[in-house]
Amino acid sequence: TQLLEQSPQFLSIQEGENLTVYCNSSSVFSSLQWYRQEPGEGPVLLVTVVTGGEVKKLKRLTFQFGDARKDSSLHITAAQPGDTGLYLCAGDEAAGNKLTFGGGTRVLVKP
């Protein structure tokens, strides 16, 4: 079973600051997803990265897939309280049937 490690586990910052969340594995993934989850709700898909070295931007969020497709990062610029939540990365093990989830990073953006 492939494992995904997320760091840090918890991040508390002030509104307007930048933050980066990391997702690392020793295994290669065919694709990697990032999700955000609010308390008491299901995770919501933010982005999928497929190609090594790929960079995708979603407003103030920038997602990068490592060249070797073993790691990924999420960078938030000028964080806002609405960015608060649990961020989960997930890697595709076998071309679409199963995902392996990281342990999550809880982000708190204080106004």
Binding site: Q6, S30, S31, Q33, Y35, G40, E41, G42, P43, V44, L45, T48, V50, L86, L88, A90, D92, A95, G96, N97, K98, L99, F101, G102, G103, G104, R106
Partner: protein
């Protein structure tokens, strides 16, 4: 557009009682379906997944079982609940293509007392 439903939203059950959680998907055909359990504030543990009617793959040996009686219906069951079964249960669906993207329901909060 596709929609995924789960019910109930919350459930409090005594130890030893049976369990049935239901998940249905609308707006797509032959989806892959998944059951996950999530500990408070942490990542997701895959319990079962299904690529078609009657096809169930179990990921973790445990007190739970799953069934898929119809194409877009996925049921999580237990004959006798344990305290350790408490948690947040999430159902998800995917197209089963190479992108692997999954779409989640709102979840069921189960408390076993």
């Amino acid at each position: 557009s596709q929609t995924i439903h789960q019910w109930p939203a919350t459930l409090v059950q005594p130890v030893g009682s049976p369990l049935s959680l239901e998940c249905t998907v609308e707006g797509t055909s032959n989806p892959n379906l998944y059951w996950y359990r999530q500990a408070a504030g942490r990542g997701l543990q895959l319990l079962f997944y299904s690529v078609g009617i009657g096809q169930i793959s179990s990921e973790v040996p445990q007190n739970l079982s799953a069934s898929r009686p119809q194409d877009r219906q996925f049921i999580l069951s237990s004959k006798k609940l344990l305290l350790s079964d408490s948690g947040f249960y999430l159902c998800a669906w995917s197209y089963g293509d190479i992108r692997g993207e999954q779409y989640f329901g709102p979840g069921t909060r189960l408390t076993v007392t």
